[in-house]
């Protein structure tokens, strides 16, 4: 039985280093060596670093002896997993059949293997063949700050081996078998016990192992071994759980240093926002809200909630809102940790492009302006006057309330005072008052007689006498 899949394996060999937001990542790797190490018990060994004379798997102690100024950072598995998932989201641009490999070191001095595996067989036609798809993959990955290595093979495990060995694309099971047979066993990342057993018994290449039949391999290496070999070579199916983006978005980024200047914060944030956009696109949803929390030494938190009226997939919208808000009110303290959170999403509506659609695009323009105004002035600073079903004048309106009324309203002044002011009547008031008694059911009952009065210059005033204590108040202006 042979499978007809084709897998693209994207390995992230420097992920332990690149997942940490270390500023000196790129510049001058020789100046001050920077390495990330894994630890088991008291043993520490290097698993990522850019210094040309420090190899992966080297004991940290020997590195420190040779380079006294080395900066050694422990690996942050949570950060690596989050970064791997972000790449997985981006890979949705190629196919929706994605498997993440996040293999820990098999033993002391071994490296982890972290890769995004994509079943590209269903997408080949869309991208005009393998070459077109690989072009697309490289341009997608070019937007990421990660080192990547690519390989293509008919099986998931085969592609993983090919990427470690640096093989050119393997189109079919025959090519896979013949090229893999030439490879030293170390590329296969088999369990160390099995690998050592085979090496010690004179097997150097995979071809040496393939000469044996399944029964003898099972007898010596366990029942699992021939099955794994069959999956590797494509003679047995290799079902895996597909990676799906989590239903809620959480992303945390630890900064190496505290950043005071909010302009400087925008650089790491842009990366996180881009990841968020890839997440939205992978799920084919849009967001209206994104919460950003800045923390300092994990204690002082400052939260910023960015809202858009129109659901969007464009992280640039949120970045512009944030910039608008920080322009007006910068963050109050330096930040050493960034966290993004989004919980609510809406299904994406494909944009309707219409020939005569002016009103709609005006609405879009207004919505985006309203978002920017709220971002800069505060959420409560932009609203629509609305009505509320209450007879008490101060409760008959509300922010963003009802916009039309079923019952006709008596005449009301266009200006309402924020709170009624004491007022002294100078001349007797003509005309019958409008009597309003209401609110006996809650905390603010009223019993008032409302009059139209004239001010000193003849302007129209809306005044009332409180029937409970006889005092006069001014509540509105007519003009």
């Amino acid at each position: 039985m042979s499978t007809t899949g084709l897998w693209l394996c994207i390995e992230l060999p420097q992920l332990p280093l690149e997942a940490l937001a270390l500023p000196s990542n790129e510049a001058a790797p020789e100046a001050a060596p920077l390495v990330v190490y894994a630890q088991h018990g008291s043993r520490r060994w290097v698993i990522a670093g850019r210094h040309p004379r420090i190899g992966n798997g080297e004991a940290l102690g020997s590195v420190q002896a040779r380079f006294p100024d080395v900066r050694a950072v422990p690996r942050d598995i949570a950060a690596e997993t989050a970064a791997l998932q972000a790449v997985g989201c981006l890979a949705y641009g190629l196919s929706d059949r994605i498997v993440l490999s996040n293999e820990t070191p098999r033993g002391l001095f071994d490296r982890p293997f972290q890769a995004v595996n994509i079943d590209i067989a269903p997408s080949l036609k869309l991208f005009g063949g393998l070459a077109g798809l690989l072009d697309r993959a490289r341009s997608l990955l070019g937007t990421l700050p990660y080192t990547t290595r690519l390989a293509v093979a008919p099986t998931l495990e085969g592609a993983a081996v090919a990427v470690r060995a640096g093989l050119t694309p393997l189109a079919d099971a025959g090519a896979l078998r013949s090229r893999l047979a030439e490879l030293p066993l170390e590329f296969l990342r088999w369990p160390l016990a099995a690998q050592d057993l085979l090496l010690n018994s004179g097997h150097v290449h995979l071809g040496d192992v393939l000469r044996h039949d399944a029964a003898s391999l099972a007898a010596r290496l366990g029942r699992e071994f021939p099955a794994a070999l069959a999956r590797l070579l494509g003679s047995a199916p290799d079902p895996r759980p597909w990676f799906t983006p989590p239903p809620r978005y959480r992303r945390k980024l630890d900064l190496d240093v505290e950043i005071d200047d909010w302009q400087a914060l925008l650089f790491p944030l842009r990366r996180l926002f881009d990841e968020f956009e890839a997440y939205l696109r992978a799920r084919q949803v849009a967001a209206t809200q994104l919460a950003l929390t800045l923390s300092r030494r994990r204690t002082e938190n400052e939260a910023f909630v960015l809202r858009t009226t129109t659901p969007t997939q464009d992280a640039g919208v949120f970045l512009r809102l944030l910039r608008e808000r920080w322009n007006a009110r910068p963050p109050s303290a330096p930040a050493s940790e960034l966290r993004l959170r989004a919980d609510q999403f809406v299904a994406l509506q494909s944009p309707q492009t219409q020939l005569f659609d002016d009103g709609h695009s005006d609405g879009e323009a207004w919505n985006s302006l309203a978002d920017r105004i709220r971002a800069r002035l505060g959420d409560g600073a932009l609203w629509r006057p609305g009505l509320a079903a209450d007879h008490r004048p101060e409760f008959a309106w509300s922010r963003d309330g009802e916009r039309c009324s079923e019952r006709p309203l008596p005449p009301r002044p266009p200006w309402l005072l924020r709170r009624p002011q004491p007022w002294i009547p100078r001349v007797p008031l003509a005309a019958a008052p409008e009597r309003i008694s209401s609110g006996w059911w809650d905390e603010a009952p009223i019993a008032r007689d409302y009059y139209r009065a004239k001010g000193a210059d003849g302007e129209g005033l809306w005044v009332y006498q409180d029937r409970r204590d006889g005092r006069w108040y001014l509540q509105g202006l007519w003009q």
């Binding site: 007006a328 002016d358 009103g359 695009s361 005006d362 609405g363 323009a365 207004w366 302006l369 309203a370 920017r372 105004i373 800069r376 002035l377 505060g378 409560g380 600073a381 932009l382 609203w383 629509r384 006057p385 609305g386 009505l387 008959a396 309106w397 509300s398 309330g401 916009r403 039309c404 009324s405 309203l409 005449p411 009301r412 002044p413 266009p414 200006w415 309402l416 005072l417 924020r418 004239k454 001010g455 210059d457 003849g458 302007e459 129209g460 005033l461 509105g476 202006l477 007519w478 003009q479």
Partner: protein, 208 residues
């Protein structure tokens, strides 16, 4: 006392402006007939800034601008109050004919934000008019707002209304129209202080 009428051939020339007439300016009726007669184009100039000087809230500025806001919002264009000194009372807005769906209020905390909000709104396509309460607005600010009103993408331009204290009367103004309101027992009196392409010094009384 009347001068000899000009020959008809001269009157028909479009490049000749006759001082006793109002220039043809694109404008939107104020909704007050007596006032419209005094204004070039017969109303608020489109794509321009107009200033209304008021000594204090409630002397007639709402009566002056509500007909405009009602008509624009009924035509599907947005209208906005920026930094109003009191609460624009929704029941009265509705009664005046304002479509509450398209009527917005912004409450900026500072003068800088206030100018920013007015400018951004004036630039937004689909906006009809923005009424902004600004205590001080130097010439630079006024030019910014004037440009924003002109630039407005949605054809014809937006109407910018700056409601300012009477002290502003002494400052130079780039506004195309400048009115001052005083209260009176028989209704607010509107004086035309400046009208590009029109005559100044005349007054109109809004119905009480």
């Amino acid at each position: 006392m009347s001068s000899r009428p000009l020959p008809e051939s001269l009157l028909q020339r479009t490049d000749l402006w006759v001082g006793s007439r109002l220039a043809a300016v694109a404008a939107e009726s104020t909704g007050h007939a007596a006032l419209d007669r005094l204004l070039p184009g017969g109303g608020w100039p489109l794509g321009a800034l107009s200033e209304v000087l008021v000594p204090r809230p409630g002397v007639g500025e709402m009566q002056l601008i509500l007909p405009l806001l009602a008509r624009l919002s009924q035509a599907g264009r947005r209208v906005a109050f920026v930094a109003p000194p009191l609460i624009p009372y929704a029941p009265a807005l509705l009664a005046a004919g304002v479509d509450l769906d398209l009527c917005w209020v912004a409450e900026p905390a500072s003068a800088v934000d206030c100018v920013w909000a007015i400018e951004q709104m004036l630039r937004c396509p689909g906006i009809g008019a923005v009424a902004g309460w600004l205590a001080s607005a130097d010439e630079r600010v006024q030019r910014r707002l004037q440009l924003a009103a002109e630039d407005n993408g949605s054809g014809g331009g937006a109407i910018g209304l700056l409601i300012r204290p009477p002290q502003a009367r002494r400052q130079p103004s780039v506004a195309a129209l400048r009115l001052a309101i005083t209260a009176s027992a028989d209704g607010p009196i509107v004086e035309v202080l400046k009208a590009r392409g029109g005559r100044v010094g005349q007054t109109a009384r809004l119905a009480a």
